[in-house]
Point group: D2
Chain length 240, copies 4
């Protein structure tokens, strides 16, 4: 059983017809409903909940954290972000969706700003799987489309060791590394581009399959603690 916590800033969502048309109970609930399965224990966590939705107890029990944020990145306290980072280092998985690319936690794990080009124009997005051998690509077609998404474009300022699994084409002329796998210490991280609040991508069967795959792949990380850092005695007895 994988404990998945779906975090959503949930600002301008429940009172915004452009969002509620697709996500009447918020983006978190759409993700929870969309990936529900026997092996996943799913919990919602919102920015306006106590302790920003992520008390240490919940973090400690979370195997994989799914992250959706957009206009309130700066409201997540640094102190919490560092505690999330610690959990990732110790093996908690992290799935970052759409505008979460600009969250503090994703920046912190990349070591970069994660800047990109963007345009809100409801353009068609065509997603290609460029590494069909990756577990997150399991069961997906070679290419599929979303009728309307926010356009994201290169250069995407992520860490160079991000491994591209999906790459997108947008009708307006952009191309983007839209599905990227990363590892930091024990923790596996997957970024996936679709999920704009006023587009129905998080109801799309292929998108949901990718998020579910990402959750399971991230859950498989190592939990081994780092051993004692100081080794006071040399292994080789003529060491000195």
């Amino acid at each position: 059983m994988i404990n998945v916590t779906v975090w959503n800033e949930c600002r301008r969502q429940l009172d915004n017809p452009a969002v509620t048309g697709f996500y009447p109970q918020g983006i978190h609930q759409a993700v929870i409903d969309g990936i529900a399965a026997a092996d996943l224990h799913l919990t919602a966590a919102l920015l306006d909940d106590a302790e920003c939705g992520l008390p240490q107890d919940l973090l400690n029990q979370t195997d994989v954290l799914v992250w959706w944020g957009h206009i309130a990145h700066h409201e997540v306290p640094d102190e919490l972000v560092y505690r999330i980072r610690d959990r990732v280092w110790n093996g908690m998985g992290l799935v970052v969706l759409h505008s979460g690319h600009y969250s503090k936690i994703f920046q912190l794990l990349n070591g970069t700003s994660c800047r990109l080009h963007w345009r809100e124009a409801n353009e068609k997005e065509r997603i290609w799987c460029i590494d069909p051998t990756h577990p997150v690509a399991e069961g997906l077609p070679e290419t599929f489309t979303l009728k309307h998404e926010e356009t994201y474009g290169e250069p995407f300022m992520i860490a160079p060791d991000g491994h591209t699994v999906f790459q997108s084409w947008f009708k307006g002329g952009e191309t983007f590394r839209s599905g990227v796998a990363l590892q930091r210490e024990n923790g596996r991280i997957f970024y996936f581009q679709p999920g704009h609040e006023s587009c129905p991508s998080l109801l799309d069967e292929n998108v949901l399959k990718i998020i579910g795959n990402a959750v399971r792949w991230c859950a498989g990380s190592s939990k081994k603690p780092y051993p004692e850092m100081c080794i006071p005695k040399a292994f080789e007895n003529d060491g000195v």
Copy 2:
């Protein structure tokens, strides 16, 4: 002319005979004297200087920042660390020495804790160049030794895209990726292991040549600003 700022926490150095025996004017001065050259304009900056030694003006003028810290990492304010990170993203080089592996800025750029094994035992270190094609290896022998250094050992929890240029053997049985090149956005970063405060490594000819090479390699990074992020109009006129 490359503007190099050599930052040193300079705690327990000038009043500690174990250190002043080798570095009577502090580690920063040893580095400045050791790499002095016609193409380098070298400035010292200390933690106890105003604004922790790094007012924004100086940061803005710095092409490459050399960093030595050990017991006072936590005294460097987060706010300053984020400003250094911004400068790296915009093309400032960063050369991190020895115990600087555990500085906030190096952790932030790796996205990892940079933990490692260690032992203070004055063991012999043998350094191997494992990528002789890298500019930082220019003019160095294939292998050289330091009679006494602090032992560092794997696993070294850095970002997986760190490119190993030097790899070390320690008499007590450890092996360590001791010279590692990294890039984050525009900025080039080089980590180099030797430089314990009570060992004379920063007076060693080969160590100083590597630091000088690293400074020049880091100085060669791109300074191009990221273009306007929002592209309101589609390039392809049938984009919508």
Copy 3:
């Protein structure tokens, strides 16, 4: 002075109006004319020349080899391909254009088949620079277009350490890693996608600037020979 040898299979080119309309003296001559500069000494070499155009003497004097092939990959003898590989290992640069992706030498250096999707449909290609810090991107705009090119699409089965500098969008829906830097031993390799025989891409100013940049970047590789492999005596005198 960089010695550049531009190799072209030159089959079905000089007698084919679809090609001679753009390249009356063959693709090799277009490249030579297009990148001509004071620092480049340019020589043509053709498959039907003696020793397939690449006698060992010429190979030994070549700093950077530019490669264009398409329908005659199998006519390049394995023995020659291995000699080219040796030269790359020893520091000769290699710039592979367009359908050269399927040449024996590019496959050999990747360790992969370099398969891809393709379509001859004279579609518009839009090229994005996704790593503006790379020397091959110097002086190029963020994005530019080619009115007609052969469409290439992902998955592109190259080695995972290929570093993507340019990424392309094709009007028909494909996206492709179209400019990729690679290193094998001392040798630097750059692959660039445009250059179909019946499209005028090799007359395009931006394409030619990229090829010229790639030639100069590849020329900067190390020429250090590998040292003696056997080290009969242990460095550490208590080694046995």
Copy 4:
């Protein structure tokens, strides 16, 4: 059930007391006996068998090929090596032991010579796990030793995307990336350094556990065939 074929050149082994003391029935048999388990179906294949031990039928049925060669690399025909490469591209795993680093197949998959330093001096080797999160490291201690091995040293001229899982220290002063994971198309490859013919490493419990882990990790690769390369009709109907 994983079909594992253990290939051994088996020259100067069965008639050489320095080898038969440890491996009376050859190195292949020691590996087969050492990793025998309920989930592995193990078959020996020798260079002097018909078709060099690897008729196409057997290759096609092999999930993971284990490779030990040393003095007869050149006797393996290129044609066979290319057939093995095809199988790797299509998802067959490959575990390369010790002097197999210099085999044609390992060179072909790296795109490099795989040169290294070496010394036959029966020195002590200490192996460190530097990525404890990798499946091949499962169940292994952080470090372990082999009393006598052939010394291998850096620089090891492999492809830069080789992911180091184990790193070795040798008493004579060398350090070496001794356990390296690689992927080429569908196929996973693992190189492991111990296994000199006159040393008992292939009887060592930790070495055998690593080889068994490597076999199982390599067996888990994707078997998806590359789809049709030509896409004659544009996906986007206004593509032309």
